[in-house]
Subunit: 218 residues, 2 copies
Amino acid sequence: MEEHNRENHILSTQAIKRMPYYLQYLKKLAGEGIEIVSAPSIAAHFNFTEIQVRKDFSAVSTTKGKPKSGFTVKELIYDMESILGYHSVNQAVLVGVGQLGRALLSYRGFENYGLKIVVAFDQDPETAGSKIAGVNVFASEKISDLCRRMNIPIGIITVPETAAQTVCDQLIAGGVKAIWNFAPVHLSVPQNILVQNENMAASLALLSKHLEEKIVSE
Amino acid sequence: MEEHNRENHILSTQAIKRMPYYLQYLKKLAGEGIEIVSAPSIAAHFNFTEIQVRKDFSAVSTTKGKPKSGFTVKELIYDMESILGYHSVNQAVLVGVGQLGRALLSYRGFENYGLKIVVAFDQDPETAGSKIAGVNVFASEKISDLCRRMNIPIGIITVPETAAQTVCDQLIAGGVKAIWNFAPVHLSVPQNILVQNENMAASLALLSKHLEEKIVSE
DNA sequence: CATTATTCGATATCATTATATCGATATGAT
DNA sequence: ATCATATCGATATAATGATATCGAATAATG
Ligand SMILES: NC(=O)c1ccc[n+]([C@@H]2O[C@H](COP(=O)([O-])OP(=O)(O)OC[C@H]3O[C@@H](n4cnc5c(N)ncnc54)[C@H](O)[C@@H]3O)[C@@H](O)[C@H]2O)c1
Ligand SMILES: NC(=O)c1ccc[n+]([C@@H]2O[C@H](COP(=O)([O-])OP(=O)(O)OC[C@H]3O[C@@H](n4cnc5c(N)ncnc54)[C@H](O)[C@@H]3O)[C@@H](O)[C@H]2O)c1
């Protein structure tokens, strides 16, 4: 017999990506004192279909919706936060304390998402040794050693694209299980390592394609 | 009869997102003096299937591959750059000159992707009036008026999530056609406006889910 | 100059994701 | 108490995206 999810539903990649949006909105509603919410009303807000909203909810929550009224906001929030790992904290290191790296280090929002950057690294001797937003910056030779000793599961890459693969290899040598990559390059990694790309060039590609179509059709 | 693409192929959303990766790699190969490349070799590098690579290439390029050898690197580069709009320049404005906004303003890479941030806005009276990385920052009351007068097609949002919808509305009032949104909220917009989200919470959700599964299965 | 190995493109199949249909159930109105 | 209506969940269908199959083309090898 097949192994199944607790709720006997599969949580698709696309659904996972939608969860933070639902969560943000549900928290806003909760802040306004709203206790019950229906799939159609959520769907209207996001411009989704109500069927999709129901499916997404049933995939992450044991909470059943009540016909004619809807779902309990608080329970949805709790279940989504659990699914997204916001109730625990994942430790991460960041490599590349430049423009973007500094912005990420200073960002307080990640703690709400269960992510804590505990150490940073940079090649530049000026930067290594400093402290940015309360986080110590070390020389990049220490990446593998420190990651392993601190048992860090996540590495964040914000170095130039030419250095990204090298840094990636160092992180993996340090036992990191997942990499969040902001450099606009493909990283080669072993099967069991996840690379989550935040490639702004890819976003821009979609944006630019859309504009082009607009212009042609107008 | 149906209207078709020049090459009689459809370019899917997913394929568009892959293009910047191909392009980066092809340029690297060109820099190494490599003139011909095969689909299987590209596929090996990206861990894609060779069928997908061929489909992607044929969707963006009129260039035919030669059996037993492959595709002409230069021609692929040229066609991809055209498709991605790198040969022209789209003007953009950025709203929210904080940690992230400053990083984006200072980033030189966007010019390679056909994007030029020409003006920025901020609510803070200290920031408005200043100049960051050569870009003038104005008070946010001027968003709509300036965008309209300069005929700006793209707005970049890097304000706190509570201000994002307001700013979005101001940009649309200014005639902007596409919005690149870094705030972790859904933005409500008219049908003809594109919102491209760069939601780091969504990325983190996938990352965290992956780690959880790793831990369970190990 | 024939043979073999490799890559190509076209078409077919499979997987994932989104949407539509429909009977069941709870709430509020008559 | 009954009826109308909004919402629910389950199952079915459609759309999009990825992979497999196969004959044709061409470069290298003997
Ligand atoms: N700044 C942005 O807004 C932005 C936007 C999109 C993408 N990116 C990407 O993010 C990355 C960083 O961009 P940035 O603007 O912050 O660049 P940056 O030059 O400001 O910072 C890069 C930092 O990495 C360090 N570094 C270089 N090689 C290293 C190595 N081998 N080990 C450790 N540290 C090393 C440098 O010393 C520097 O501090 C780039 O890949 C860029 O393409 C940045
Ligand atoms: N900093 C990061 O690394 C990071 C990472 C992920 C997401 N984000 C998101 O990006 C956005 C900006 O983050 P940040 O860290 O740069 O914040 P920040 O507070 O440093 O900057 C926000 C800026 O927006 C300005 N602002 C506020 N309301 C405005 C309005 N109505 N009109 C014009 N300007 C206004 C503020 O004056 C400030 O300069 C947030 O939504 C945040 O969630 C940031």
